[in-house]
Each structure stands twice: as C-alpha cells, then as structure tokens.
C-alpha cells in the first residue's frame, strides 16, 4: 500500500478510531464506574422543551444508525427483494427524514445547552464538543443527499455500491481505500466525521449507549443481589 492521505484517512484512521473506541470504552468502564453516565441535564430545563428536543434527537439519530448499519453491512434489503435503485430510494428517503428529525432535535439541544445559563454552567466542554461534532457529521450526511438524490433519480447508484464495498472492506479487515478514491468529497468528509465520532466516543457522554438499559423492557420488577460474591 502506498502512503497517501486517502490511505491514511480511509485505510488506517478507521482502525485507530475503532481501537480507541473499543479499548477506550473498556478502560473507562474499568476505571471510572462512577463517571459512566449520560450526564443528563434534563432536570435543569423545561420539561416541555426537553420532551421535544430529546425525543426528536434520539429517534432521529437511532434511525440513522440503524439505517447505516443495515444498509451498509447487511444484505437484508436484498433478501427482501429490493434492487439497488430501490435500496437507494429507501435509504435516501428514510435518511433524509430521520436526518431532519435529528437535526431539529439536535439544534434544539445545542441552543439550550449554550443559551440556558444553568445548563451552560453544568456543561463539561466535552458535552458541547460532542454535540457540535455530531451535528456537523449530520450536516455532511444530509449534504451527501444533494448528490445521491439527483443520481438516484437517474437510476445511478454507483457511488452507493462503491461505498458499500468500501465499508465492508473496512469491516472485514481488508481495508481498500482505493475503492473510494474518486468518490465525491462530501462523502469522504462525512465518513471522516463519522469515524471521528468513534474516536471521541469513550471520552464523552456517549458511553451511555453501551449500557442503555434495554433490559428494562423484559426484566422482572424486583432485583435482589446475592450476598455471596464480591462483598469484601
């Protein structure tokens, strides 16, 4: 592999980010149990406002995450019988919808975080950095649609196919950054931003994603802990 910025950013950087993401999360989990939190500031703000802001943001961003994951890393849509053009149509329409929803929620959150003196005072620098970074990533993600949508109208889905191959090459540890050498810049910027989110992840409040209390849906009402283990 010959050195180039393209090679570094899209062949090596994703692994750096991924390593920091995983190792960082583990180390933080081991060292900072008491700091493993979403640092929620919900108590400081108006209930109504937060109901909209937080829900829009979380619904939008989770939909986007799911969409990226299934679209790029699985063949579910193919199994369902969608051809690449239909796949792209679905991706674009769902992506734009969820993106706009997340954008509205995210901007509301940002405004509140910066303008409300109480929330501002309670914010750590990383809380603002990560929110701004996610919004930037989101902007570029939405920006890609200015290329994708006109293309799909003309049944062009080449870029998408290249990106699918590229993303899979990363996931399969056979990184092939050459694949995307000619892809429009905005895709690359969006991807760089996305990788960086993973890089920042363990240093931010995003760690709460790891321990989202999903089991609340199914767990029994009452948990009691055994006395046997680990009580010193």
């Amino acid at each position: 592999m010959i050195w180039s910025w393209n090679t570094f950013l899209f062949g090596i950087y994703p692994y750096i980010a991924g390593t920091i993401f995983l190792l960082g999360s583990i180390i933080r989990y081991e060292r900072e149990q008491a700091g493993w939190t979403s640092y929620s500031s919900q108590i400081l703000a108006s209930k109504r406002y937060m109901m909209w802001a937080s829900n829009l943001w979380h619904i939008g961003i989770l939909t986007l995450f799911l969409g990226h994951f299934t679209g790029f890393l699985t063949d579910i849509l193919e199994w369902l019988g969608l051809d690449p053009v239909e796949h792209q149509w679905l991706a674009a329409s769902a992506g734009i919808t969820a993106g706009v929803v997340a954008m509205v929620g995210g901007v509301m959150l940002l405004l509140r975080r910066v303008l409300d003196p109480k929330v501002r005072y309670a914010s750590r620098p990383m809380d603002i950095i990560i929110l701004v970074w996610l919004l930037i990533t989101l902007c570029f993600g939405l920006g890609t649609q200015f290329i994708s949508v006109p293309e799909v109208i003309h049944d062009h889905v080449q870029n998408m196919e290249i990106l699918i191959h590229y993303v899979r090459s990363i996931a399969e540890f056979q990184a092939n950054p050459q694949l995307i050498i000619n892809i429009p810049l905005i895709y690359k910027v969006h991807m760089f931003c996305g990788f960086t989110v993973f890089l920042l992840f363990p240093f931010s409040r995003l760690v709460h994603i790891w321990t989202a209390p999903l089991n609340y849906v199914v767990r029994p009402y009452q948990l009691v802990r055994s006395k046997i283990r680990s009580v010193v």
Partner: protein, 1251 residues
C-alpha cells in the same frame, strides 16, 4: 476483578427467580457499593458540639479522614437520667449536621485580613520611622486619612496581612485610645458565653485586664425577659426540656419548639402520649401548632389580654368560689400576695397603690433594727397584727444571718404566722382605687376605678390606708366580690370590665368561652396535680416593647395556680436563655476576677441606643407611656433622659463613664486627701466631672475601638441596623427619617450635626465572612467548633460537654483563647514604653446580688436635681481604683491571678474560700513559666485552651462536688436552713476536660441555680425555693406580683396590665416621595427560623438548598392579593429606619395584616438594591429601631438592679411596622458597579465633617 468481565457472564448467569417470576436474584458485581462505604469511612472520631447561639447543646461526633473533617454524626452516649423518662438523645438538627461544610467553604476566613487602605496608611507611617502607637496617632488625627478607610466600610477592599503585623496594629490602636481617651472607649461584643465559654472569656478577659468594656448582649437582643428578674430576681431560670414530660397540661405561646428547639421537641410530642393536653397560642399556623390539641389564634402581640382574662377566671372560681387550699397556701408562702402596701390618696375619693409597707414604717420597726426599710410586712391572721416575716431582702444583707428564708415565721419572735391574703370582712374601710387602662383604641391611657377593702394604720408618717397585694390584684382583675360589689356572679361577659373574658375577646379575637374553658382546665389540672401546669413561652411573646407585661400576665397565672417550682409546672421561657452552668468558675476567668476585684461592664441596649444615635430619632415620648395618676417626677423627660438619670444614680453603668479619661481622674483622685469615692462625688457635685452620656455625641465620648467575636453584631444584632452603619461606622446607609426629635432631651447636650463614623477601629473575629466582617476594618480568622477545645452547657438539659479540636485550626486561624493571648503579648510589649503601670477609675453601678442592691429604699432622690453631694454606692455609682499593670497583661492573661486564693470565690451572692482548688490547679494545669520565680509566686497556667477549661471545671460547684458542698454551706448559713444534703451524694466528684471528652456529664446541684440536678427530679426553676424554703432574690423574698418602685408605678406597671403593641410611627416618618409610591402597612414579625440559627447556616450551601436560599418574607394570601404579589415575586419593605429586599412567600399559614421575615437573613447573599433608597437592600433590622423602656433602667433596688445580662433595658423590635410593596423584576439591580468617586467623596465628607 474487572467490571467488564464481571458483566460478561451470560453463559453462567444464575437466575433464581421468586414471586412467580416478578423478582430475580442476581449475582452481580457489588464492588460499586464500596464507593458508599468509603464515603463514610474515617480515621478518627472526636466529640464536639456547635458553639452557635442556640440552646441545643448537642453532643456530636466529628469524623476525620486524611486530616479533613468529612462528616458529623449525633453522639448518643449521654448518661442515662431517670427511669420512666425518655432519653435525651439523639440531639442535633439539620443545621448542626450541615456545619462541616463551613470549614472548607468559600466564606471561610483563612488569614488575618485588613482593609487595604488602612494597611497602606499604617505601613506608610511606619516607614517614616514612627513607632506603632505614633503611627496610629498620625492616622487618627488626620481627618483625611481617617475618612479614607472609614467611609468605605462595607464596600470590600480587604487584603491579607500577618498575625504579627495585625496584632501590632490592634495593640497600637488600643494603647492610643487608652492614652488619648481612656480604656472605657474600647468595647467588646460577644454573645451567650454558654455555647463556647472559653472563647467568650478570651475577649472579656483581655478587655477586663486592660480596662475595656464588655457589653451585655442578652438584654440587647431582647431574649432577656425583664419579667424574670422583676418577679424572681433571677436572670432566667427555666425547666430543662425533659421536665415538659412531667407536665400534665401545657400551654405554648410564642416559641416554635419543633423549629427552634429541635433536639428537645421530642419531649413535647412524647408527653402527649401520656395524655397531657397541649394548647398552642399563635397568630400564625406555626409548626408547634400542629402538635397541639387546641389552637388559640390570637392577634399578634395581644397574648397578655388572654392570659389576664384567664387569671380573672382563676381568681373568680378557684380563689373566691372554690377557695382551693393548695393555691391559697402556695400564695401565702411563695408569693407577695399577702404583703401589705400603702395606698396613696389622689384626691378626696380616689386612691392609687403605692409602695410596700416596711418595718421602718412602724415606730418600733417591728423589732427589726437592721435594714428595716428593706423588710416588707404581712398581716398575721392568727395574732391579728402586722408582722415582719423572714425572707425579704433586708435579711439577705444583714449582720445577723439565718433569717433569709421562706419559713412562715416572724423574724423577731420566730413564731409561726399565717399571712392573711385578704382583709375582706375585717376591713376598716372600702376605698376607690384607680388602675391604668392602656388597651383603648385611641391609644390613650384611662383610669379605671375599683373598690377595695383596706385597713387604717398609724405609721411613722401619719395615718395611712393599707391593703394586701391580693386585694389589690382582685380589684384590678375586675373580679366581683359580694361584700363589695354586691354580687359574686362572675362577670365574664362584661366586655367593658378590664380583664374579663369578654374584654379579651375584643382584643385577641379568641372567643370568651374558649378562654374560660382553657383557664378552668389549666387551674383544675394544677389543683389536682399540685402545680403540674406549664406555660412555655419565647420570642413570639417576649420580643415586644411591653414584653414584661406579656410575661407577667403569664407568670401571674402560673403563680396563682401554684405551678412555679413544681416538677412539670411553671413558666418556661425559651429564647436565647442558655444557662452557663459552671458560672462560679467561669466568672473570674472571664472578667479577670483573679487579678482585679472590679471590672468594667456596660448595658448593651443603652450603649447602642446612645452611641448609634438612635435616641436622636426617638418618636415615642415617655409621657405617652405613663400612668395617668403617676407622681411623674420626671415628666417631660425623653426615653434617653431616663437612661442618663439612671446612670448618674448608679442604676445603669455608663460607658464611657465620664467626659474625662478615667486614668487621669484616678491619678487626681488618689492624690486627694478625701479618698477616691469622696473626691469623685465632689467633682460630680461641683460639675468638674460630667457623665459622658450627658454629651454623648461629643468626640471625647465616642466609642473608639470595638471587638466583635463569636457574634454577628452588624448582620444580626444591630436593631436599627442603618443607624449603626451611619453613626457608629460612617458607612453607606439607608436611614430615611429625620433626627430632630432628640432635641427634646433635657439631659443630653444637642449637637446640630450628628456624628458620622465614631469608631476608629472595628475588629471582627470569625470563621466566616458575614456582615460584621464586611463592615469591619480587621478580620481575624478563628477556629471553628471542630477545631478548638472549649466548654458548652445549656438549660435545655443537665449535661456539660466539650467542644473538641477534631482537626487543627484551618489555614492560619487560631482559637479565640489564643487570638487574645497573642494580642495581649503584642499589647504588653508596646505598653512597656507607652503606658507602664497606671491607676484606672471604675464607676460601678449598684449591682444585683451584692449589698449595693440595697440602694434607695423609699422614693427616688436625685442628687443632681436636689443639689446634693452624691453618696457613692447609694445615690450614685461606686467608685473604685484598679491598678493596671499594662506591661504584664500577657502574664496576667496566661495565668490564674492571686485574688482567688486570698479573697475566695462565689456567684449570685454566695461566697466561699477556694485556696485548696487553686493549689490543685497548680498541679492540674502546671505553672505559667515566667511567673514561677519561686514556689510562693507560682501561678496555675492558662496557656492552653484546656487549661482554661479546667479552671472553670475545677472552681465551679456544678463540676466539682467539694465546691458544691462549700456553696450550699454558704447558702445554709445565710438562710438558716440545712441545705448541704442537696449535693452531698456527689461531694467527691470532680470533672476534668478529658472526662467530658469521654462522655458528657450531668452537672451537680448548686446554689447558683434554683433547681436540682438530682436523680429524682428534672431540673425545674424555683424547685429549691418551693421545696426547701430558700427565698427568691427579690425585695420581698417571694415571687412578686407587685413592683413598688416609683418608676414602676409612674409607668403603671406596679401590677401587670395589658399594654397593646407600641405605636412606633416608623411608617409615618417616611419621606413623602417614598410613602406615596403605595403599598400596604403590615406588622413586621421576625421570629426564629428553621434553616438557620440567627445568621449562621443561612449562607450554608446545604441549608440554602433546603430553604428558599435568600431573603424572603411570608405574606397572607389576602395581603399578597391586594399587593398583586405572587409567590417568589420580589418585594420591598420600607419605613423610616431603612429598606430591605426579599422574595415573597405567599401562604395560608399567615394571618392578614402580618408580614413574617425569619431573622436573620443577611444581605451578603442574593440581595439586590432597594428602589426606595437606591442602596443595597438591608436586613430585617433595617426596618427596626430600638426603643428603650424606662422601667428597665431602675437600679439599686433589690431585684431591680443592674447586672450584666440580668436586668436593664432590652432591645425589642417586634412592634415594628413596615410598608410593603411589589418590585418588578425589571427594577431589580444587583449593584455590581465599582465605587464611584462621587459617592466616595460624599461618604468621606460626612465622616470628615463630623470629626
């Protein structure tokens, strides 16, 4: 091992479910729990308490980790008291539990701080080669320099300095003041010694050694109930809280037990489980009302009317109709009801009550040669003759000892006598007697006429009519007697008759049926239980101008029902009333009694009233308060004038004493052949010497240096806060009224221009920055209650316990004891050159519990008016010379002086030798190094705080059984009773400081107190008097319904009467521009708070989170509606005394017409500017001004005699009214601009012009 791996066990997870799968047992990692365990882990535990001005006296364990205090917990290892009594513990409340926050808080004073401008001036002068005293002189004698730091007080500007430099400055200021004006221009203010008695003693010992003036405080902040010394000759003596549990009927009026007596409140609820009925009297739905079985919502300030009407019912039903023998026997032996009084003719038909009949009124003095004019008389129904019973004050200070007791015996013949309560049926005549009625709607006093049976008596000054106090009381209470009124029917429903239940209904709003029923229940209970009916009272009833009337109406009731001195009965006053149990050992430590026989002290209220020039604004005239039938020999005198008269008659202390320097007078006096006292008396007579108060605003008479420690004078105690700022401190202030009314004074020289900025130097000693620090010139960092060794007692429980140093004093702080010790060292060093040994003249007022309390027995002779030469110790103060060894103040401070061994020790009039204890202290404390020249010279050391604690413990009857024995022996001799048995079982006990560190100890019964600390009974005031026949320290030796001093009668308070809240005119005095802006006038009540103890804890982050976290005022919904105020809106409260800002709390709890602002929310936090004044909003005392009451100034008259914190004018504030209005958020200004040069010029000019 690993949090992550511990979670990764999905394959081995063991699920044991239960309750049909609703629950599951996990085997999760539980290491996270250790975080909580670590939070409560510690390295050591130390016992201490909170030396805050609170009566809790709670033992706490402070936990230390890594050298820092991490948390405190209630100690629960008090000694067990009696079987069948709930435990005292756990003691402690939310406030104490939050204290550790202060140690490391942003308010903490860490270093010696000084006003930067003052430091620059001082360093500049020093740099020019001047020595410290010269440097201070150079600053003080240049008005420009002086004003540069004085005028900016309260506006910030502190810098750090070093202990050495600061001590040098203070010592230089003290020495300059002593030289230039006299040591009596140096004063000190500190509150309630009982909470940390060594720290209190530190400052007063220093002041007493240099000749400075410790000021009284208990009277000043109006927690002193003057009624207590008036009735019993005792400062305040009340049941411990456990005694509530012995009661079977309790009325609570104006003390919020759950909120302010939190650690004791459990007794209040526990006793209800025994079936005790609790009645609450309160204008608002206060916390204590929730505990009650019945609530009587009186109008604020009218409690006396209700209690007088209850007394009416008791007299009518239990004395006249049922003739309850328990009540009558009690009244005969323990009250002055059978004492005979003279009736003074007003005109041909009407009489008014005059003084007590005395042995001296009889030709043969009834066989009494010693002090016959101080012995009161009863009529013996057995022998049908006038007799002089034992126990009156004349027997207390008599050569022949053994007759000062309450045995029902004739003092001359020792025969049993049966004192007659009423002469009805045996009277010679029925007379018309007048009583004052102040309860009229127009505010004018009127005369009420009643009939009374009386006897004719030939006295040394002709034929007189006499009657008993009891007959007079029945007439005044308006009780019907068949033989006089022609009917015995109760006239309860006659609303025109004074003191009937119907009459009180019109005043208090309480239905007459309720009043009658509660009175019947209270008295019936007392008959059945022999006095287990109790009235618990406090600030809500005592903080009024006429507080003595409120209280005496209650005391009358409990006396009539024979409750005083009975377990579970009596009068229980709980506000600021901490009992310094080991008083006898503490007094010489605190006032240097081991070095000097006399010390200088002053009455706080008079001091501040005069020196902060509040008298110049006085709108209340003394004449308006008088009895319409008064002799009124001082008619036309202003309230301040009465104070001046009282000073020159030796009743009240004067500080400064005279216009001249007492060192100069002493010098001249000791060279005069007449002797010191005669010399001074002559100088006063010929006018060469004048009292300082007669020209109080003269520069020579200003207070110059002021120490404030353990207190927050400016932020808490300063009634008339803005006047303090203006006249005393010269700071920016918001006084809105005009000061012309002081011109009416007949005794005080009037200066057209009032002084501004009298103090040269104010020193605040504190661990936190509060308002006093903000206005001071120097702030010294002191140790907190977790950083020093000290002692603490309270009257809420019988234990003594320590404050203990859990950690060393933080940063550069020192304990108060060490602060003043080091200051004494700097002082001594400088004094070597400037002062040397000097003589100091003390003018000592006629103190209670000394032979001087026998001043003028009959009438008031004013030497100045009558042109006579004053008689020191009788018609004017005593004059004594004290030798001050100024270069050795440090040595004197640090060791126990020789006088205790040679002169003995004592308290409250008792006296015993104590040489043995002093020689034991040599071994306990070691000797002070520099004093140990030879064995003869060796003196016990007081170098460490613990040395000082041990001195107190070893010399006090309460903590040393042998001393208790000596004390009881002394009282036995005086009374002729056998009393040593009361403490014999504990004669061998001796407590040391380290004993108390192990466990709080229950103190030993002592003659300094009127109750017992035995295994059988809870402490209850008057218990010894009623069970062992020791007299009260009053004129008659009994509890007094009647006070016969001429001034008492002038102001219509011979008997208790109803006096409505005072009209202060404070809102009427507002400048028109401000008054016109609208609002409504509300009664301004300032009770004690749940989230703070005075100003402490209000700025504690933890308490701020629990409360509103800033100044707030409670309003009723209706008043708030009218003002268009909703909850949490800003409002302004303003009157001529100043303005304050607060947020509104709108609540149904509050009755209409009342605004409640819990004191003492300071202006250091969350206080914006007030629109009316354009200055920062003040504190609750910005709306108050102190108004003195002449009857509190009486002295040299048995129990009516001044002693520090015992008797004297009180600084009431509850009669205040304020104009309240809404302030819109847009008008709120936080005033965060820098000091502008315009303002500075204006402030400085005011100070310079008055110098």
């Amino acid at each position: 091992m690993s949090h992550l791996l511990d979670r990764l066990k999905y394959l081995v997870r063991y699920h044991e479910s239960f309750s049909d799968g609703h629950g599951v047992k996990l085997q999760d990692d539980r290491l996270w729990e250790d975080a909580y365990r670590h939070r409560w882990r510690y390295d050591k535990v130390v016992r201490t308490t909170h030396g805050v001005n609170c009566t809790g006296g709670c033992s706490w364990n402070v936990h230390v980790k890594n050298g820092l205090v991490v948390f405190e917990m209630q100690a629960h290892d008090y000694p067990q008291t009696r079987p069948d009594l709930p435990n005292h513990e756990p003691r402690g409340c939310q406030r104490g539990a939050s204290f550790s926050w202060y140690l490391y808080s942003p308010h903490r004073i860490k270093y010696p701080m000084i006003r930067a401008r003052l430091l620059e001036l001082y360093r500049h002068e020093r740099a020019t080669g001047k020595d410290p005293v010269e440097a201070w002189r150079a600053i003080q004698e240049d008005p420009k320099k002086r004003s540069s730091y004085i005028a900016v007080r309260g506006l910030g500007g502190f810098v750090r300095s070093s202990w050495d430099e600061i001590n040098e400055i203070i010592a230089a200021a003290n020495i300059y003041t002593i030289l230039r004006y006299g040591p009596d221009r140096i004063a000190g203010f500190s509150v309630i010694p009982a909470m940390s008695m060594i720290s209190y003693a530190a400052g007063t010992r220093y002041l007493s050694l240099i000749g400075g003036v410790p000021l009284s405080f208990y009277d000043w902040y109006c927690d002193l109930p003057p009624s207590s010394p008036q009735v019993w000759g005792e400062q305040t003596d009340v049941p411990e809280s456990a005694d509530w549990y012995n009661s079977t009927y309790i009325i609570v009026a104006g003390t919020n037990i759950p909120a302010t007596r939190t650690p004791d409140a459990h007794f209040y609820s526990e006793v209800r489980y025994k079936g005790t009925k609790v009645v609450a009297i309160a204008p608002d739905y206060a916390e204590y009302v929730k505990f009650a079985d019945e609530w009587l919502p009186v109008r604020a300030g009218t409690d006396a009317a209700l209690f007088l009407a209850m007394g009416h019912v008791v007299l009518q039903e239990f004395f006249l109709q049922k003739k309850a023998s328990y009540f009558q026997d009690y009244a005969r032996q323990f009250t002055d009801l059978p004492m005979q009084i003279l009736l003074r003719p007003l005109d041909d038909t009407r009489y008014t009550s005059d003084r007590f009949l005395r042995a001296s009124d009889f030709d043969n003095q009834l066989g009494q040669n010693e002090n016959p004019e101080w012995k009161t008389i009863v009529y013996d129904s057995k022998s049908e003759s006038y007799r002089c019973p034992k126990g009156s004050i004349g027997f207390r200070w008599s050569q022949t000892e053994g007759n000062w007791n309450l045995l029902q015996e004739d003092a001359t013949t020792n025969e049993y006598i049966e004192a007659e309560l009423s002469c009805l049926g045996l009277q010679d005549i029925v007379l018309q007697v007048v009583f004052p009625d102040y309860g009229n709607s127009d505010g004018q006093a009127k005369l009420v006429e009643r009939k009374i049976p009386a006897r004719r008596l030939q006295t040394t000054h002709g034929e007189q009519f006499v009657c008993s106090v009891f007959d007079l009381l029945l007439a005044q209470y308006g009780v019907n007697r068949a033989e006089i009124e022609g009917t015995t029917d109760a006239n309860y429903t006659d609303s025109n008759q004074l003191f009937t239940p119907a009459w009180q209904q019109g005043i208090t709003g309480i239905p007459q049926e309720n009043c009658i029923r509660i009175a019947q229940e209270f008295a019936e209970n007392a008959v059945l239980t022999q006095g287990k009916s109790m009235v618990i009272v406090g600030a809500g009833t005592n903080h009024w101008y006429h507080n003595d009337m409120n209280y005496r109406s209650i005391i009358n009731l409990v006396h009539l029902c024979g409750c005083v001195g009975q377990s579970g009965g009596g009068w229980a006053h709980y506000v600021g009333q901490e009992a310094l149990r080991p008083q006898a050992g503490w007094l010489p430590l605190a006032f240097a009694g081991d070095w000097h026989l006399h010390s200088r002290q002053a009455a706080g209220t008079s001091y501040w009233y005069l020196h902060t020039d509040q008298w110049r604004y006085e709108r209340v005239t003394a004449d308006s308060l008088m009895h319409p039938a008064a002799k009124a020999s001082y008619k036309g005198h202003t309230l301040a004038d009465y104070n001046i008269v009282a000073e020159r008659l030796g009743w009240l202390p004067a500080a400064p004493h005279f216009q001249s320097n007492p060192l100069d007078i002493a010098e001249a006096a000791s060279q005069d052949s007449k002797g010191v006292a005669d010399y001074v008396a002559h100088e006063l007579h010929n006018g060469h010497l004048t009292f300082a108060s007669e020209d109080i605003d003269h520069q020579e008479n200003w207070p110059r240096n002021l120490f404030v420690w353990r207190s927050n004078l400016i932020g808490t105690n300063a009634k008339g806060h803005e006047y303090f700022l203006k006249h005393l401190l010269g700071a920016e202030n918001a006084v809105l009224g005009e000061d012309g009314s002081g011109r009416a004074s007949q005794e005080i020289q009037w200066h057209e221009k009032a002084p501004v900025g009298k103090l040269d130097l104010m020193i605040d000693i504190n661990f936190r920055l509060n308002s006093t620090g903000a206005y001071a010139d120097i702030i010294l960092p002191t140790a907190t209650w977790y950083e020093k060794d000290d002692l603490n007692t309270t009257d809420m429980h019988p234990f003594i316990h320590p404050l203990g140093a859990a950690v060393d004093p933080g940063w550069e702080s020192r304990s108060d004891w060490q602060i003043f010790r080091h200051l004494a060292k700097s002082f001594s060093t400088l004094a070597e050159k400037h002062l040397g040994k000097r003589k100091d003249l003390l003018a000592i007022s006629l103190l209670h519990d000394t032979p001087n309390e026998l001043g003028q027995a009959v009438g008031v002779s004013d030497w100045k008016r009558e042109g006579k030469i004053p008689e020191p110790g009788r018609t004017c103060p005593n004059f004594e010379i004290v030798e001050r060894d100024y270069p050795h103040i440090y040595e004197q401070y640090s060791s126990i002086g020789p006088l205790l061994a040679t002169h003995g020790n004592g308290a409250k009039g008792e006296h015993w030798e104590t040489g043995q204890e002093i020689s034991e202290l040599l071994a306990i404390n070691g000797t002070f190094p520099s004093s140990g020249k030879g064995k003869e010279d060796a003196r016990p050391s007081l170098e460490s705080d613990i040395n000082a604690c041990n001195m107190v413990l070893h010399l006090s009857p309460e903590t040393n059984g042998e001393v208790a024995h000596k004390g009881w022996l002394s009282l036995s001799t005086k009374t002729g009773l056998s009393l040593t048995k009361l403490a014999n079982d504990r004669r061998g006990e001796k407590f040391s400081f380290h004993d108390l560190q192990v466990q709080p100890r229950k103190v030993i019964s002592s003659p300094s107190w009127s109750g017992l600390m035995s295994e059988e009974v809870s402490y209850n005031a008057g218990y010894v008097n009623v069970h062992y026949a020791t007299p009260y320290r009053t004129l008659t030796g009994r509890g007094q319904f009647y006070l016969d001093h001429e001034w008492m009668l002038d102001f219509g308070e011979g008997l208790c009467t109803y006096r409505p809240p005072l009209t202060t005119h404070a809102v009427a005095g507002l400048p028109e521009a401000i008054a016109q802006q609208g609002g409504i006038v509300l009664r301004f009540l300032t009770p004690h708070d749940k989230w703070g103890i005075h100003s402490t804890y209000h700025d504690d982050l933890r308490m701020m989170h629990l409360s509103r976290g800033g100044p707030h005022i409670w309003l009723s919904e209706k008043d708030a509606d009218q003002l268009k105020i909703s909850d949490n809106d800003w409002l302004e409260a303003v009157n001529e005394n100043g303005a304050l800002m607060a947020r509104a709390v709108v609540s149904q709890r509050i009755p209409e017409g009342v605004a409640i602002m819990y004191h003492q929310q300071e202006k250091t936090l969350n206080v914006p500017g007030a629109p009316s004044t354009g200055k920062r909003g003040g504190i609750n005392n910005s709306a108050t001004r102190v108004i003195v009451k002449p009857t509190h100034m009486i002295g040299g008259y048995a129990q009516l005699a001044w002693t520090l914190n015992y008797y004297g004018p009180v600084g009431s504030q509850r009669d205040a009214e304020v104009l309240i209005r809404k302030v819109n958020d847009a008008q709120i200004s936080w005033m965060e601009k820098q000091l502008g040069s315009d303002l500075e010029t204006e402030l400085r000019q005011a100070v310079e012009e008055s110098q």
